[in-house]
Amino acid sequence: MTASTLPEPIARAAASTGIKYGFRRPGSSPAGKTRRSNREGFKINWWLTALMVVASLTVLLPLYFTVAMALKSPDQIGTGTGLEWPNPMNWENFVAAYVATNFPRAFMSTAFVTVFSVLGSLACSSLVAYAIARNWNRKFFRGSFVYLLSAMFIPFPVIILPLIKQTALLGLDNPAGVVFLHVLGGISFNTLLYIAFVRSIPVELEESARMDGATTWQVFRKIIFPLLAPMNATVGIFAFLGSWNDFLLPQMMIADPALQTLPVVQMLFQGEFNTNYSLAFASYLMAMAPTLVVYILAQRWVLSGVMRGAVK
């Protein structure tokens, strides 16, 4: 169920079903590379290379600014083009930002929201999708699918005040309520992703499990959920980014300022007319770190996930 156990089920599933899941094994590409570089007259597409360099600059340049800004003192910010690397570097910005935001507490609150939003999204959406996909011939389930999808047409800001009222009545004006709404809010889109995938899993697999005496729950837990692994990665990544970076919902929902999440606490550096850029960027960098780490670790799944989510 956790992200770290994903690779094995994919491999097992792929081996047992014979379905190709589109992952390039790390070992398969080097052969291609050496062949290319050794071959005489290999032509480099300079136009495409230039395009790629420009494209990667759109990511790297803001990242560079973030790091440089985080290390600047206030009087270094106003000078020059902004591209200069700060000298001397002000590492104490990080300390100041850490103290000002009470970083550990805000981090834990954000981590709580994120972890449970991801787990909740995976569990709820996959169950819903399985139920709907395998009962497609019944009107009720088809109707409920349309019902879930229709939720995607309601803009969130329209319902936020009623939601606040409701969650307050239920005592959910805290991070737990934010988790609840993240899971709920994600169900329609995630179910859409899952259903398309569940349909591609042959029913025969389940039938054979049933022959061996598996219950519906066991079929889901032992067969379907592991086979959903690639889609779990996609949904997990969407849920992670969505809840880690979410601003509006925690800002409006969490009543106790001590439980507030990082994106909201970081507002501290932005006054109406004044922005403390160096501290702001130092704290953005600290808040970004987990996302960056997750991205670097999960790059393979992110890329394949983007493609997988494209076909519904």
């Binding site: 910010i77 219950t215 009543a255 106790d256 501290l268 007319f273």
Partner: protein, 429 residues
């Protein structure tokens, strides 16, 4: 097969029971009594993230003196309306006082503070700034001013001294000073036209506030309601016309390329001495000093007429203290507000933040950056900017920006009249 539906039903039933059990204890803590072990917890929501540290210290001192009260500070102002929706708003609130806060006042969100002894220590002229937005039940005091920000022209003392220019007290002197800077190759004013709000609060508010009685104008305009037409004596077209050429003249004194500079650019450039004057309020001072700690700054109210006694400063009640009407901790909240308005707290705050204290017997401002505005504030020669009277649904700042570029005053004023009438028609009861 027959066993499956049964077990499913059992599963659903169990899930339902579990859900209910989960909700039941939580639903009890909606409107909590905030007193535990004799210690009352107050929630204090303040509207300026940059002064969180100051208030943390104030709260610490207050708690030491009042061990039966604990104060939690919250700077997440976006949670105020949700707090009201939850029926669990913060107990003590500070807000910038203008249109939006006045809306809350008119709806009776805040308690009446007129009985509090500290209310008598507030300068009545500053209290009038708050009351001018309307009072609940016609006589209640819903907010006590805590900090008054006065805005005028920020100037670079070094450049003024080097050019032998003294602070202008009339419009003609001001124009002459600008011409002198121009002749010396110095940009008289640093313009940041890319950020339309800087044009609105600077040029538009200063000139309109200095040339006409803005408060009276909007009182009449509001009384007229949706019947307003461009040729009515209450309209923008009939009143703002004479002020427009001066706005354009101000704009013409800006440096070349002002259209592509924003507020942050302006702060950086002005701190480096690239212009003599800057039409900004005290909020820019800390940014300017942060960018250049050696800069010597001063402020003066922009003279718009040739009578120095008519020169006025633009002010806004930057922070006003309120207690929410339904707070269960009224007594504790009042003690906290009392403490915040003690001279040692409120005067120190305003001294540190280049603002003016609302207390009757506050000492004269010594900060050289804003002392030039002191006389105008003491004599109540001030106005609240015309822009603050506009409902947010009018894109006023953009109209001002396009007026500065097109220089078409007639079109500008008739657009304002049209917008005002449209909003009045929509909101007419």
């Amino acid at each position: 097969m027959s066993a499956a539906p049964l077990s499913r039903r059992a599963l659903l039933k169990a899930a339902g029971l579990a859900g209910a059990a989960f909700m039941a204890p939580l639903s009890g803590c909606g409107a909590t009594p905030s007193t535990q072990n004799g210690v009352t917890t107050l929630r204090f929501m303040q509207n300026k993230p940059e002064v969180v540290d100051y208030f943390n210290q104030v709260i610490k001192d207050f708690e030491a003196l009042n061990p039966d009260i604990r104060v939690v500070q919250d700077f997440n102002e976006g949670n105020f309306v949700p707090g009201l929706v939850r029926n669990d708003p913060p107990d003590v609130v500070t807000r910038g006082f203008a249109q939006a806060t006045a809306d809350f006042v008119r709806k009776g969100i805040f308690a009446d503070l007129s009985d509090m002894p500290v209310a008598a220590t507030i300068d009545p002229k500053m209290q009038d700034l708050v009351s001018s937005w309307g009072q609940y039940n016609g006589n209640e005091i819903s907010a006590l001013p805590f900090s008054l920000a006065a805005a005028g022209v920020i100037y670079n003392r070094d450049i003024f001294e080097a050019q032998g220019v003294s602070v202008p007290t009339t419009w003609d002197e001001f124009v002459a000073a600008c011409e002198k800077f121009k002749a010396a190759g110095i940009a008289p004013i640093y313009g940041t036209f890319k950020d339309p709000w800087t044009l609105a609060q600077g040029m538009f508010d200063y000139v309109s506030g200095g040339a006409l009685d803005v408060a009276k104008f909007f009182t009449k305009l509001n009384a007229k309601g949706a019947d307003i037409t461009a040729d009515a004596p209450e309209s923008f077209a009939s009143n703002f016309g004479p002020a427009l050429p001066k706005m354009l003249q101000l704009a013409s004194f800006a440096q070349n390329g002002a259209a592509s500079k924003n507020y942050a650019d302006g702060n950086a450039a002005f701190a480096k001495g690239q212009a003599a004057m800057y039409l900004q309020g005290p909020w820019a001072l800390s940014q300017l000093v942060a960018a250049n700690k050696d800069i010597r700054l001063g402020s003066f109210p922009l003279p718009v007429t040739n009578n120095p006694d008519e020169t006025k400063a633009r002010v806004n009640v930057d922070m006003a203290l309120s207690i929410t009407r339904n707070t269960p901790n009224m007594a504790a909240a009042q003690r906290f507000v009392n403490y915040l308005l003690a001279p040692s707290v409120v005067n120190t705050y305003n001294e540190k933040n280049a603002a003016f204290s609302p207390l009757k017997d506050a000492p004269a401002v010594s900060n050289p950056q804003i002392s030039g505005l002191g006389a105008a504030v003491d004599e109540a020669r001030y106005f609240q900017g015309a822009t603050t009277y506009f409902p947010p649904s009018v894109p006023l700042n953009n109209y001002i920006q396009s007026f500065v570029y097109s220089k078409n005053g007639e079109q500008f004023l008739s657009a304002l009249d049209d917008e005002w009438r449209r909003v009045a028609e929509r909101t007419a009861v």
